[in-house]
Amino acid sequence: MQVKIEDQSSIKKVLSFEIPKETISKELNKAYAELKKKADIKGFRKGKIPRKVLENRFSAEVHAEVAPRLIQEAFAEAVENHKLDIVGGPQLEPPELKPDADYAFDITVEVKPELDDIDLQGLEIKKRLYEVAEGEIESQIYMLQKSMATKRKVEEERPVKENDFVLIDYEGFLNGEAFEHTPKVENYVTAINKEPLPKEFSEKLIGAIPVQDLEIEVVYDDDYHDENLKGKTIQYKVRLKEVQEEVLPEANDDLVKDLEQFETLEDVKASIRDNLEKGIAQRVKHEMSEQIFSQILEKIDFQVPQALVQGELNGIIAETEQAYAQNNTSLEDVGLSREIMQEKYKNVAEKQARRHLILDKIIAQEKMELSDEELDAGFEEMAQAMSATKDAIKNFFNMDPRQLQYYKHTQLEKKAIDLIIEKSNVIEVTPDALQGADLPSEEAGVQA
């Protein structure tokens, strides 16, 4: 078998194959011999069908079976012999197989680009020292209080204010007649100045003192979401019965008793602080890796195989679809489609593909490997995050070696980033000092 490899670019190669006719007739003989045993044609006993008859009846099928096999074997051999690092699927348009001629075909493949060694020394990274703001903890506690708030009737006689709740009866009339889509509702509790209460209600109700009867006219727009109401003017007869206000529970240990995992308020605060700190650590790391990549990308330039970009893109789209599916919507529901996503995230996907290639290169360049202990620690971490046992995680990966390979690779990539950070000049700065230049990529641009 002969292969000619032609480089179209650093990432695209065309392999030209020529399979000699001897090989083809050998393969065909084998296929027909196999077929002879199995084929069943009327007028012939099984296994006694002449080759000629088989060829007449089954040549299309036999060729369709033999040709891809020949191509695949040849391709695999070529990949093996020439050490091609292929990404994505090969592209080919195989011609028809002819039994008595050499079989020539071309395959176009994309390969990983060969990167030059990356100089990791002397990268300058700014590390921002964020701190957990006390205010943030307070506001989270406040959210907690708010979520557990109760409503209480205001005993004193006072007018309705903003942020109050009201207890009302109401009935809607269309042109002075009771309207079937706005029946009488009693003892309805609602917040003032909040959706879905029409703003006319809020306006009229503020300042009113219970018990009081009001007439409120609401004009619904033509594009109102309710088919039955849009474009109509409804007169509501409303009886304001009570003013209610929200009572926040006090922030003390009793409040957190209901949260099960926690005993005291301090525990909750500590947990919130912990979460915030984790978030900050992640953010810092993310910022640093952003800087690293933009600086490395300044240094080296290479082409990215389209197959890799497409792979990243598919990942992004699948993730988004999944996220929407969890909320019981779909891409189409929010006015998106796969095509729009493709267009929108093309650059992101390409950037990600570049990153992976750079990290691959660094892993190879520094001859990094993942030790068993590190793998184990990774499992442990994952087990905690997914609240599963470590053994379960291990089992899962042992059952699927490809997943394991993939997981190992992601861990290696993380390790590579850590290594780069270690080798770089990390300058610690306070976040305030950098407020102006917020985007790390922009900073890198200025430096260069």
Partner: protein, 95 residues
């Protein structure tokens, strides 16, 4: 086209394939009331080949029984046509 009324189709079996390869004979299903001369003329006209000899056989249809229901396949006439040496009928090569 009288020849197409007489010639009904090829007979492709182990035996007929062998006969074609060894004795240059082609085997056909023919109309039941056709005689050897008519068959010879029809084959020569339809396939543009010279015929040396025609032999015919009355084939009795098989009795097919399925449960209590007994059926019979149609009787038909088979013609084994020997071609002149060197003559060939492409139509039969393809079956």
């Amino acid at each position: 086209m009288i020849e197409y009324d007489i010639l009904r189709g090829p007979v492709v079996t182990e035996k007929s394939t062998l006969q074609r390869e060894l004795f240059n004979q082609v085997t056909l299903k023919v109309a039941k009331d056709a005689n050897r001369v008519e068959i010879k003329n029809a084959v020569e006209k339809a396939f543009n080949a010279q015929v040396k000899q025609v032999r015919t056989v009355q084939v009795k249809g098989k009795i097919k029984q399925r449960g209590r229901i007994i059926g019979k396949k149609k009787d038909w006439k088979k013609a084994v046509v020997t071609l002149m040496p060197g003559q060939r009928i492409d139509f039969f090569e393809g079956v």
